[in-house]
Subunit: 243 residues, 2 copies
Amino acid sequence: MTESAAGAGTGTRRQAVDQLLAFLACGELNAFERTATDSRFAPTISDRVELAGHAVTEWRHYELVAGRLTERGVDVNAAMSVYEAPLQTFHDRTRPRDWYESLMKAYVSDGMVNDFYRAFAAHLDPSTRELIERVLGQTGHSAFIVDRLRLAIADDNRLGGRLALWGRRLVGEALSQAGHAAERGGPGMMELLGDDNQQAGAGEESGASSGAAPDEPGARISRIFAMMTEEHSRRMMALGLSA
Amino acid sequence: MTESAAGAGTGTRRQAVDQLLAFLACGELNAFERTATDSRFAPTISDRVELAGHAVTEWRHYELVAGRLTERGVDVNAAMSVYEAPLQTFHDRTRPRDWYESLMKAYVSDGMVNDFYRAFAAHLDPSTRELIERVLGQTGHSAFIVDRLRLAIADDNRLGGRLALWGRRLVGEALSQAGHAAERGGPGMMELLGDDNQQAGAGEESGASSGAAPDEPGARISRIFAMMTEEHSRRMMALGLSA
C-alpha cells in the first residue's frame, strides 16, 4: 500500500527495499548505543547531555524505520540480525579512545551513512524515500560536532594529525564492513541501483568505467564507494584535515 | 509556585528539594548511559532493542526532572555536577562483565534508587512528590529483568552464587557513594527528613535508636540505609538468592 507504481514491482524488489530499511534500522540502533556509550568521554556535563540527546534522536530514527518495516509485514529483529555482525565488527575495530576520536567517529560515520542511502534515494518509491530523507535529515549532530572538532584542531596541531589518521582508519573499516553488509543483503539491494544506467545514466560514469559491465552488482557498489570516499575527503577538508 | 504550604517554607528547604531533584536527574542521566552501554552484552537483538528502550525511558525521566529544575529557576548542569563524581565512581567500581551482571546491576540500583526517594516522599510538597512517583513508577524494567534472572539462576547454580556475591558488592558500593552524594548535597537534603520525628514519629524508631539524637543528619541517613539494606535482601530473595 505504501509503495508507488515505480516501486511495487516484483517481490525481489520489495525484499530489497526491506533489506535496505533493515540495514538502516540496525545502523540506527548501533548508532544509538555508540553515541550513548561515548558520552562517557564528554569533558563537561553539558556535553554529556548534548550527546545523550543525539543518541535518543538516533533511537527515534530506529523506531521510525522499525515501525515502517512492521507495516510492511517484516519481522524487524530477524531482518536486522543479518547486519548485526558487520556493524558490530565495525564498532569493535574502531573503538574511540577519547572524546575527539568519538566525535570524529560520529562525524565520519553519519556522513557515510548519509552518502550510502542518498545513492539509493532516486531509485525508491516516494514513501520510502521520504522516510529515509526524514531519518537522515535529522542528524543535527553535525553543527555541534564540526564546531568542537574545528576548535580543538585549530588549537592543537598534533591532534589534527592524529584525527586525520583516525579518519582514514574509520573510512577504511566502514567501507569494508559496508561491503560485507551489502553481500549479506544479497544481490537484491544492489539491484535497486540497476535502474541507474537505463533511467538516469546515459552520460557520466558509463564512459569512464568501460571495463566492467555497468549494471553488474560489483561495479555498482564500487561506484557508490568511490562517491563515499570523495565525500569523505570533502568532509575532512571541512575540518581543515587531509583525507 | 509549585510548592504547597508544607514545602514552601525557607530558602534552605527549597534548596534541599532542588538538590534532591538534581541528584535524581544526574542519576537518570547515568542510568541512561549505563543501560544503553550494557545493551552490548545482550544475547539477542530483541534483548538489545528491549534494553535500548529502557534506556530511552530513563532519558525521558531525566528530561522530566531537568524540566522541573529549570522551572524552579535552577541551572540544571551546575546542580547535577555536584553528584557527577560519586555516581561515576559507583559505575566505575561496578562494571558488569556480562549480560547477567548488567541485568543484576539494573535490578539492584533501580531498587535502591526507589527506596531512597520513597523515604523522602512523605516530606515533600505534593507537586514534587508526584513528579518523583511518576519517574520512579515507570521503571518497567523489573518484570523483564526478574524474569530473565530467575530463569538463568534456576538453570545454573554457579551463576546464582556469582550473582549473590555481585549483589553484595553492588549494594556496598551504592550505599557508600550515596553517602558521599548526601554529603555533597549538604545538610539540607537530610534535613528534609527532619520532620520525621516531629510529624509522624511519636512511636516507632524513637525508642529503639535511643543512642543518637533522633534528628541528627547522620542518624537519619543511617535509618534510610538500614531500610535500603533490608529492601535489598527482600529483592535478592525474590530472585532466590541470599543477600
